[in-house]
């Protein structure tokens, strides 16, 4: 999975191991992980953007994101959003739980 600015605070290894140890083919595993990776990214962006009060703050964040400037992203989040890290963790965890449930159901049904 591509390193994102939030990669160090999201626990996704357990999920990856579960997918990797399934009987899906490598192409299928890759496809499923891509969907999860992309969904997480979208959800986290939505969560963050919804927290900014001003449009210009959103734009600053997206500018940093496009340039992969992780330090600047966190500095900006720290200044503009209270408890940004916790909010990201919570949103990601909630979404991952849904993926976990779906996977369990698919593998053991």
């Amino acid at each position: 999975m591509q390193k994102q600015f939030y990669s160090h605070i999201i626990e996704i290894d357990t999920f990856i191991v579960k997918i990797e140890s399934s009987n899906f083919s490598d192409a299928e595993k890759g496809s499923l992980l891509s969907l999860v990776e992309h969904s997480l990214h979208t959800k986290i962006l939505d969560t963050i953007l919804a927290e900014f009060e001003k449009e210009e703050d959103k734009n600053v964040f997206l500018d940093h994101l496009v340039k992969d400037e992780h330090d600047k992203i966190w500095k900006h989040l720290g200044e503009k959003i209270s408890g940004a890290e916790e909010k990201i963790k919570t949103a990601a965890q909630k979404l991952l739980e849904e993926f976990h449930k779906d996977l369990e159901k698919a593998l053991f049904s």
Binding site: Q2, S22, F24, S25, S34, S39, D46, N59, V66, K67
Partner: protein, 295 residues
């Protein structure tokens, strides 16, 4: 596991679409801003996401893109002409062509597409120029590349997600040493690549280095004789193995533009070298040399 995968994949793709749709609905001004302000958004980490986030609009033709009945007729006539010429020149079964057949077909293709094609350049040729093509996966283009980074537009998504990415590197390794040095040319090479049986080329074992350099990113015209659709592509990989029964492979985009992107993703094609020493022939779908003028 196929049905379980399909069920799961469908559900997760649907969830993904919902998330993207929500994101775009709620934050459209900011997302539009970042699209316009970033020159490199296509290659950036967020670029693919932004493109995915934009719900695909209905592609209604604008007035200036409408073509006349006469122009459609011209296009159709050209296809029929090519189909007819190839039908007479090609054998009934898919087999290696004789030198005479190859030359005749090369002349037909050169005349039809306005691109000089040859079965042999500098005494080097492939094991065949008429064979069965099968669909390949995407290739890693630089260290750290991912499948999602291949997406250039919303319409790409279905193709990229379903085709997957090959677990190992292509015959020429990465297309660029790193993401920073990854160019549009590299991007197009991976997008429009074929895998051919370089290792079965006549005399390959007598001059492996020379053949490798010759084949690496060599441009080829690939033509589906059953529908006249053609693509200019590069040799981006070696394969497939003989036991597969296939003679070459095409990237998801190549297969799409040959009209072989759906169903079994295989079919018979013609593939000839493009004589392009000045690198002027662009990669991608190739139209007949009869230009359709839009009114």
């Amino acid at each position: 596991m196929a049905s379980k995968y399909e069920s799961l994949s469908k559900k997760w793709a649907s969830r993904n679409e919902k998330l993207k749709s929500d994101l775009y609905k709620k934050h459209r001004p900011s997302l539009d801003y970042v699209f316009k302000s970033s020159k490199h958004f296509l290659l950036g980490s967020v670029g693919g996401l932004m493109l995915l986030a934009a719900p695909a609009p209905l592609a209604l033709p604008s007035p200036h893109n409408l073509i006349t009945i006469e122009q459609v007729s011209d296009q159709l006539n050209k296809k029929i002409s090519l189909y007819s010429a190839l039908a007479q020149a090609l054998p009934l079964e898919v087999r290696p062509l004789t030198s005479e057949e190859e030359q005749k077909i090369a002349d037909i293709l050169s005349g039809n597409f306005g691109v000089k094609v040859l079965p042999e350049i500098d005494g080097k040729k492939l094991n065949r120029s008429y064979g069965l093509i099968g669909g390949e996966q995407h290739l890693y283009r630089f260290p750290g590349d991912t499948l999602l980074k291949h997406a250039e537009s919303p319409s790409d998504i279905e193709m990229y997600l379903s085709s997957g990415i090959a677990p190992s590197l292509g015959a020429w390794r990465f297309f660029a040493p790193n993401q920073k040095d990854f160019t549009e040319k590299d991007m197009l090479r991976e997008r429009y690549y074929v895998a051919v049986q370089t290792f079965l080329a006549p005399d390959f074992n007598k001059n492996v280095g020379g053949y490798r350099d010759f084949f690496k990113y060599r441009k080829m015209l690939v033509v589906n004789p059953k529908n006249g659709q053609a693509v200019a592509a590069v040799i981006g990989d070696a394969g497939p193995a003989e036991w597969t029964g296939k003679h070459l492979g095409g990237s998801p985009e190549v297969m799409h533009y040959l009209g072989l992107g759906k169903g079994p993703r295989k079919g018979s094609v013609l593939y000839f070298f493009i004589d392009d020493p000045e690198d002027k022939v662009p990669l991608g779908p190739v139209e007949s040399i009869i230009k359709i003028k839009f009114t």
